[in-house]
């Protein structure tokens, strides 16, 4: 994958002064997003995803390092960026007492779209967002999913080359989530828009073609989802023990077991050799009187990779 870089940061640092001293929210992040890419910045809550996005957009002052969008410096060329980038804040933040159409017109005027452009684009975007039948409904009275779609439509009114979305599917039902991601997919394929999305959801990360994994202000890993999933050593076994706690205590001690993660009532166990360890685990558990059902090998997903990578980061930090 090659091409022009649209979003760029180099050793980006953001420190907040609080009463208890300085808190480093972003601690030396270096990332690159190429044109037309869908980049997912993933990480747990408080990892610094929102702060990174805000600094790149020039909404927060950066403490150190560099950050640019489309070659414009986040701090110096703030308004050049704001004319060319679309942004959806984490919470619904459009003026809620304005109707759908009023919101569209407001953002169109603010972005300097001419009347002709508005006549063409607003109906298109409403259609795109599935809001054509709700033009006179107030922003506050839309459902969570519709709010996000309206926010996306408003952020696209000036045909930005880059769209940055901060946890866009927070508080959105699964069906609307899927619809929203389909919209992003269309946007990418039809307009070639660069999409930068922060999300804590691993299934959404799989929809990106490049992923940055953020933890405690640092970018722990950044690569394609396929490569990231391969970063976890070993292969993955999944099973449901009849008696969870003893199994959960016993399995990590066994030979050849690299890592154990819980997944609901199931255990996800990374092992070095599937056939050999499968037998050994079953034997060891039945010796303790614990039967287990449906032990099988599965493909590691982003979720397992993510937990494993973060766990390693924690061990590295303490040990």
């Amino acid at each position: 994958m090659s091409g022009e870089v649209t979003i760029f940061t180099q050793d980006l640092v953001k420190r907040f002064k609080t009463r208890r001293g300085a808190v480093t929210a972003v601690d030396g992040v270096t990332l690159q997003v190429r044109r037309g890419e869908t980049y997912g910045l993933i990480g747990p809550d408080g990892a610094g995803k929102t702060t990174t996005t805000r600094v790149i957009l020039g909404l927060l002052k950066r403490t150190a390092g560099e950050s640019r969008i489309l070659g414009y410096d986040s701090m110096r060329d703030t308004y050049d960026i704001r004319e060319r980038v679309g942004y959806i804040a984490q919470q619904f933040a459009l003026p809620g007492d304005l109707t759908v159409i009023e919101n569209m017109r407001f953002f169109a005027n603010v972005q300097g779209a001419s009347r002709e452009e508005q006549r063409k684009r607003i109906p298109e975007l409403l259609e795109f967002a599935g809001l054509s039948d709700f033009t006179n409904r107030r922003g506050d009275q839309l459902s969570g999913g519709m709010k996000k779609k309206l926010a996306l439509a408003c952020s696209l009114i000036h045909e930005p080359q880059v769209v940055m979305l901060d946890e866009p599917t927070l508080g959105v039902d699964p069906v609307s989530r899927r619809e929203f991601w389909n919209m992003l997919g269309d946007l990418r394929t039809e307009k070639g828009t660069t999409i930068f999305v922060c999300t804590p959801y691993m299934d959404e990360a799989e929809r990106c073609n490049w992923v940055g994994l953020m933890y405690q202000g640092q970018l722990v890993a950044h690569d394609s989802p396929e490569t990231i999933k391969r970063m976890v050593p070993g292969r993955l076994l999944e099973f449901t023990p009849a008696n969870f706690v003893p199994a959960w205590q016993l399995v990590p001690e066994l030979e050849g077991v690299l890592e154990v993660q819980t997944y609901g009532a199931m255990l996800h166990v990374f092992v070095d050799d599937v056939e050999r360890r499968k037998r050994e685990i079953e034997t060891a558990l039945s010796a303790q009187g614990v039967t287990c059902e449906g032990m099988r090998e599965i493909e590691p997903r982003m979720e397992e990779a993510f937990i494993s990578l973060i766990r390693r980061q924690r061990v590295g930090a303490t040990g």
């Binding site: 308004y79 407001f106 603010v110």
Partner: protein, 380 residues
């Protein structure tokens, strides 16, 4: 159309839609000043006259009755009860049955004859306004009584009003330092000024901080809007609202409280516009300091209190320590109260109040400039 103008118009239009759509708040903004104006004006008016008074007349003769009558006729004192002695008067004040008490000694008439009559007037000191007004009223009444008695005595002795050694009733005369206070016609323009002050500050501050709290400000800041454009869009619609409020208050003053509008309405219009803008600027400044609506409310409350206390409406500024006066100078209403009274009540022109006008002008420019500098394009 230049992009900047287009953005400013779009933001202003958004503000207007939001204001009109929130009609409950709009009604409060438009009706509250009238309600407050009535409360303030009548409350202040009731404070300074018709003070409920307890009388202990231990003399019970023509002289004492004449004195009590003079107090009542003055309109400042209403005799609510007659009691036995000084202790009973104090008890009545303690029980908050009366605000003032009058004690006339048993030998009052004889004292007066000797030329050294003394009465005691007791005030509820917890209410400084009552004391001030009552004190000066009582002094004035005693003095006029004295003069009357003196004339009477002089006539009896076959003398004219010459060669008088001493007055028969001794009083110390103090002139109220704020003679403007007792007239409704002076009160109403001042009340209008502080109500407008409160409105301007609160409206802008709340409207900006509300957007910050909801997160809307973040979404708006990420558009190409410049801080100055955002400021204008917050100020302009509120100018219209406050102008309507000003009209309502002035018309209420003229037609209900019979305040004669002596000066030039146009001069008043321009100067009140200047005052409104500086108040809105102060509101913008608060909005840059306060992060939440709660903080904005608290800051506004502090300013409201300072406005009522320090601007010279209820409490005279001349007696305040320099530091307190200086704080009062930071509130535009301080200047505008004098301007409003000058134009409406006294009917004077610009030449009589140019220093206040200049101060207000400097203030308005400074506060707007300061707000423009502190109004950021970022969140932190």
């Amino acid at each position: 159309m230049p992009k900047s103008l287009k953005r400013t118009l779009a933001f202003t239009q958004k503000e207007i839609i939001q204001i009109l759509r929130d009609w409950r708040t709009l009604m409060i903004i438009l009706l509250m000043p009238i309600v407050l104006m009535f409360f303030f004006a009548y409350a202040v008016n009731l404070l300074v006259d018709h003070m409920p008074t307890a009388v202990a007349d231990m003399s019970k003769d023509i002289r004492s009755r004449a004195f009590i009558e003079a107090l009542e006729i003055s309109g400042y004192f209403d005799v609510k009860m007659y009691v036995e002695d000084e202790d009973a008067v104090v008890r009545a004040i303690d029980a908050e049955q009366v605000k003032a008490g009058l004690v006339i000694p048993p030998d009052f008439a004889a004292q007066v004859e000797r030329g050294s009559g003394q009465v005691m007037i007791i005030f509820d000191g917890s209410d400084t306004l009552t004391v001030q007004t009552g004190y000066s009223a009582a002094s004035a009444i005693a003095q006029s009584q004295s003069v009357e008695l003196l004339m009477e005595k002089a006539n009896q002795m076959g003398m004219g009003a010459i060669g008088l050694g001493s007055l028969p009733i001794y009083t110390s005369i103090r002139v109220l330092y704020n003679p403007d206070m007792d007239g409704m016609i002076f009160m109403v323009p001042g009340i209008a000024a502080i109500l407008l002050q409160i409105l301007t500050i609160a409206q802008v501050a709340m409207s900006v901080v509300r957007e910050r709290e909801l997160g809307t400000l973040e979404q708006l800041l990420v558009t190409p809007v410049r801080p100055i454009e955002l400021m204008i869009s917050k100020v302009v619609p509120n100018i219209f609202i406050t102008v309507v409020d000003t009209l309502i208050l002035v018309l209420t003053g003229v037609f209900w409280f019979d305040v004669p509008f002596q000066g030039s309405p146009w001069l008043f219009a321009w100067l009140s516009l200047l005052f409104i803008v500086s108040g809105l600027g102060l509101g913008l400044l608060i909005s840059t300091v306060a992060q939440t609506q709660k903080q904005a409310q608290q800051l506004t409350t502090v300013l409201v209190l300072l406005t009522t206390m320090l601007t010279g409406l209820f409490y005279p500024r001349t007696t305040m320590p320099p530091l307190v006066q200086a704080v009062g100078n930071l509130i535009p209403a301080t200047y505008f109260i004098r301007i409003a009274r000058g134009i409406i009540t006294k009917g004077v022109g610009l030449s009589f109040m140019w220093s206040d006008v200049l101060a207000l002008l400097v203030y308005g420019v400074a506060v707007m400039g300061f707000a423009a500098v502190t109004f950021k394009k970022r969140l932190d």
